[in-house]
């Protein structure tokens, strides 16, 4: 497609990926390219508008007046929160389904039609926002009725959502066919994650249609009245649900990328899959936290829904927070890549932007996005977060740090493995994730401080000078300066990704690398590990290569490993021995390998979480009596 790819397909339209060992069919690959490139275009468009938004809120510059600000802010929100994400997520479904299962994309024409409908909807939404005229208002992300926006906007949303729903059909058909042909076979974990993603997505999108179809009829005058409470409750099914799609797609990408680039294995299939099932049942209730400071829902409704069955979804996220680094830890320990508590992490391919993006996405999502999401989802704490800039900080931590970084990391490998092109500007590609993640982290922290400590409202073009009143938030000015500078650096970091990606697409040389997982750093290059580590030759053959790798190298390592595995229920501390004389490939069962590095890191995470949580409750307790 586009003549941008470099791979050849065989007569059946398949090719075998030299890195992942996946059999990829052209029909699926073309659509992944199409959706992926469109997503990157949306990222670029949304990023341009980010410049204007940041330079307006940084009032030293104060670029835009109110009317323009709201238009630009709406463009920023829809292109980044919706179009960049959803187009990428459809691509991820087609990777997680047809790619991983080695199948054709069924109903290719349906996929093409869905793409056209989504694109049409996206263009219509952008144009209608851009041409907003009084008394219509820019919709921002929420388009809260009864504040009117252009009727074309609501129609655009209905069209876009319909397209996204249809785009999931070829994916679901893939799963259907796979299960019909191989009823006894378990789906690979990434496919399972993508499958849960598609169900959560479908729920969100149907909710969105139930919201926006009547809202459209209200706007064109067919319905006389729209209840704002009903609108809020229904809107957030799609408003937050779309972000839950991001979360699940991102986690599937985490499993995929840590494996492909870092050599991670699955620590426990049972635990990781159980976490996805928890998401399936509970994550959509997470949207309820948007109504915590609303008049329309009862206290019991609010406490139950924010606790949603004792935090089913929060537990799921905490499971992934352990399982993914643990998978990386055991995968790397197995191949002798680093001992000690965290040696396996230091030895990782940090210069590879695919790896660094993914790991920073995991860490920053957890520390900055996850913790704050749980806190603002507590009914009473929500009062101090609701509609302040801190809320914006939270979702930039989840979406701009977590999901965007993960998708950038994936994007680097889509360029290599789907388009078959080696990155140009490699030093830029190496630095870009660090620049973006570092600066965006500062932006996010500043937003949170500004919101919680100064109560800065989220949707104001100016707060240090408010027309018509002596009151202002000028005390917060120093933090806004840090915010403004960091925002510009972050946008630069994002722009460098677009430059590297587009440059690679047009000018990158052919990529024919075998294995991005570097040869174990401690043991030179004569090893057969690439075969074993990559394990890329398709189902069934993996088990054959791994023992080879072990046999051909340190036998004492093998003995050690066998010993530790043999102890069975005996403690995993036994694996300490393996650090002193690491084997080439430790074939011990995963549960018998040490996960102590991950355990230490997750305890640090929990400690941070508890401290932040306690500080937030302390701040709340300083307020006057309410209720």
């Amino acid at each position: 497609m586009f003549g941008l790819g470099t791979f050849q397909y065989d007569d059946d339209g398949f090719r075998r990926c030299s890195v992942t060992g996946l059999d990829i069919h052209r029909s699926a690959e073309d659509m992944v390219k199409l959706f992926g490139v469109t997503a990157i275009v949306a990222l670029a468009v949304g990023g341009v508008f980010a410049v204007f938004v940041a330079l307006t809120r940084w009032e030293l510059v104060g670029l835009l007046g109110p009317a323009d600000f709201y238009t630009y802010l709406s463009m920023h929100a829809w292109n980044l929160l919706i179009f960049w994400m959803v187009f990428m997520e459809i691509a991820i479904l087609y990777v997680g389904g047809p790619f991983v299962l080695g199948r054709k994309l069924p109903l290719k024409n349906v996929a093409k039609a869905a793409y056209a409908v989504m694109l049409g909807g996206a263009v219509l939404i952008n144009v209608s926002i851009w041409l907003t005229e009084q008394p219509d208002q820019a919709p921002l992300l929420t388009s809260y009725a009864p504040l009117p926006s252009s009727s074309w906007f609501y129609l655009g949303v209905v069209i876009f959502l319909t397209g996204a729903l249809v785009a999931a059909i070829p994916f679901l058909t893939t799963i259907w066919k796979e299960k019909r042909e191989n009823p006894g076979k378990t789906l690979p974990l990434v496919t399972f994650g993508a499958f849960v993603t598609s169900i959560v997505a479908a729920e969100a999108i149907v909710g969105g249609l139930i919201t926006y179809v009547p809202t459209y009829f209200w706007r064109i005058g067919v319905l006389a009245h729209i209840d704002p409470l009903w609108y809020r409750q229904m809107y957030w099914i799609i408003g937050h649900g779309s972000q839950q799609i991001n979360l699940l797609a991102m986690i599937s990408v985490w499993y995929f990328m840590t494996h492909v680039v870092g050599g991670a294995e699955v620590a426990s299939e049972k635990v990781s899959r159980a976490a996805f099932v928890l998401y399936l049942f509970f994550i959509n209730m997470g949207a309820a936290h948007h109504l915590m400071s609303d008049p329309g829902v009862s206290t019991a409704w609010r406490v139950w829904n924010t606790s949603y069955a004792a935090y089913g979804a929060v537990i799921a996220s905490m499971i992934h927070a352990f399982a993914i680094p643990a998978g990386l830890e055991v995968g790397r320990r197995k191949r002798g890549e680093g001992g000690g508590v965290l040696g396996w992490l230091w030895s990782a391919p940090w210069k590879d932007p695919g790896f660094s993006s993914t790991v920073m996405s995991i860490v920053l999502f957890g520390f900055l996005g996850g913790t704050t999401g749980v806190m603002m989802g507590q009914m009473q704490l929500n009062m101090t977060w609701h509609n302040t800039l801190a809320t914006v900080g939270h979702f930039h931590a989840t979406v701009a740090l977590g999901t965007t970084l993960a998708f950038m990391g994936l994007g680097y490998y889509v360029l290599r493995l789907v388009f078959g092109r080696e990155w140009i500007l490699k030093p830029v590609a190496m630095v870009q994730p660090y620049l973006y993640a570092g600066a965006m982290s500062i932006v996010v922290l500043m937003m949170m401080y500004l919101g919680i400590l100064y109560g800065i409202p989220r949707r104001h073009p100016s707060v240090t000078d408010i027309p018509g009143t002596d009151f202002d938030f000028a005390a917060a000015e120093p933090l806004f300066i840090v915010f403004g500078v960091a925002a510009l650096v972050a946008i630069l970091g994002g722009a460098l990704f677009v430059v590297a990606a587009v440059g690679t697409l047009v000018a990158g040389g052919k990529y024919d690398g075998a294995l991005p997982v570097e040869a174990p750093t401690a043991f030179g290059s004569e090893t057969p590990v690439p075969d074993g580590g990559g394990d890329g030759t398709g189902p069934g053959s993996g088990d054959g290569t791994a023992p080879d790798g072990r046999d051909s190298t340190a036998s004492d390592g093998g003995v050690d490993a066998t010993a530790s595995a043999g102890q069975g229920t005996a403690e995993s501390e036994a694996t300490d021995a393996e650090e002193s004389s690491p084997p080439w490939y430790d074939d011990a069962a995963h549960h018998a390998l040490s996960m102590r590095g991950t355990f230490v890191m997750t305890l640090v995470f929990l400690g941070t979480f508890v401290v932040l949580w306690a500080l937030n409750w302390y701040l709340l307790s300083q307020l006057w009596q309410v209720g």
Binding site: L147, V190, T191, P228, E265, S307, I319, A326, H460
Partner: protein, 326 residues
């Protein structure tokens, strides 16, 4: 090798889970229970819970309730002193009806939160300590009764933090909390005036004392091009209030002969007409109540001079006007 992109082999469900991963599962479960328990417990032992009764009240009806509340209260220099323990706040683009108010420390008030038009936010903070702030949603059609009690005297600023239109950021009000309300009442009684400032409108023709610029109260008037519409001689003149949803009077400045009746016609919602200044001896009262599209009132101007007026909710957006009587 257990790869996430290959089907797991064998009986993966029965495979043992690493001890540390099991411990982490336990920790996660305990933490979730703690979060839940604390939140549920705080509704019992905590002092900050945004809970209260919600009534279904159409915006029109809510406007009447706020109006009745204002009539029952006592006006003071610093704001309205409520007659009882109920405090009504009616949000509209872009003002809070019912505020400013003066409240007393240590008394439990019931805040009634509602809006006349679109969704708004009731975001309150203490002037001295901005981190002491909270935020509640206000929806048209719903009246939310939230009890609040203040122990620290001072000024509390209210801003709207739900996007309600281009003038959103200008939506600000405040209330004062004092230790002794009776002191405020008696101070006010000795200072009998309190209404509109007395006029010195006579000499300020032409630019009307800068009334249309941003130097005067409120913002610059967007539709004033430094010319006054001359309607001298005609005996019926109309001023449109909020034409096409804009926050303006049209024409912004009109010159009429003494004895002319001017009609103000509402073309959009939530506007009023307050008199900033008028000639000595004139007693035009404007129209203080907030009215919606379709409403109109008229006044016959007898005393020559400049009558400067404005719409209170939209003063900061420059919704100001002048009737010049010659």
């Amino acid at each position: 090798m257990e790869s996430p992109i290959e089907p797991p082999e064998g009986d993966w469900w029965s495979e043992k889970v690493n001890r540390r991963e099991t411990i982490w599962l336990g920790i996660s479960g305990l933490w979730a229970m703690t979060l839940f328990g604390w939140m549920a417990g705080w509704t019992q032992f905590g002092e900050q819970n945004q809970t209260g009764e919600t009534l279904d009240v159409p915006p029109e009806r809510y406007r009447e309730k706020v109006s009745a509340y204002k009539d029952a209260g006592t006006d003071s220099e610093r704001g309205l002193i409520p007659a009882g323990e109920d405090v009504y706040v009616g949000a509209m683009r872009y003002a809070f009806d019912g505020l400013p108010a003066v409240l007393e420390t240590g008394r439990e008030y019931t805040f009634h939160l509602g809006t006349y038009d679109v969704q708004h936010g009731f975001s309150v903070r203490q002037e001295e300590t901005l981190s002491k702030q909270l935020s509640l949603q206000m929806l048209p059609g719903y009246e939310w009764l939230v009890p609040m009690q203040f122990d620290e005297p001072g000024t509390y600023h209210v801003v709207c933090n739900e996007f309600c239109g281009t003038g959103h950021r200008t939506m600000h009000a405040k209330f004062d909390v004092v230790e002794d309300l009776s002191a405020v009442e008696s101070a006010d009684a000795s200072d009998s005036g309190g209404g509109e400032p007395a006029g010195d409108g006579s000499g300020a023709s032409g630019d009307y004392g800068g009334w249309f610029t941003g130097d005067a109260r409120g913002g610059e008037v967007p539709n004033y091009d430094e010319s006054t519409t001359d309607a001298t001689g005609s005996d019926a003149v109309t001023v449109t209030v909020g034409p096409d949803g804009n926050f303006t009077f049209d024409p912004p400045a009109v010159r009429v002969s003494a004895g002319t009746t001017v009609t103000f016609e509402w073309e959009s919602d939530t506007h009023n007409v307050l008199v900033e200044r008028q000639p000595e001896g004139a007693n035009w009262g404007g129209h203080e109540a907030i009215e919606n599209s379709g409403f109109s009132f008229e006044h016959t101007f007898e005393t020559p001079g400049v009558y400067a007026y404005y719409c209170n909710p939209h003063l900061s957006l420059g919704m100001k006007g002048v009737v010049e009587v010659v």
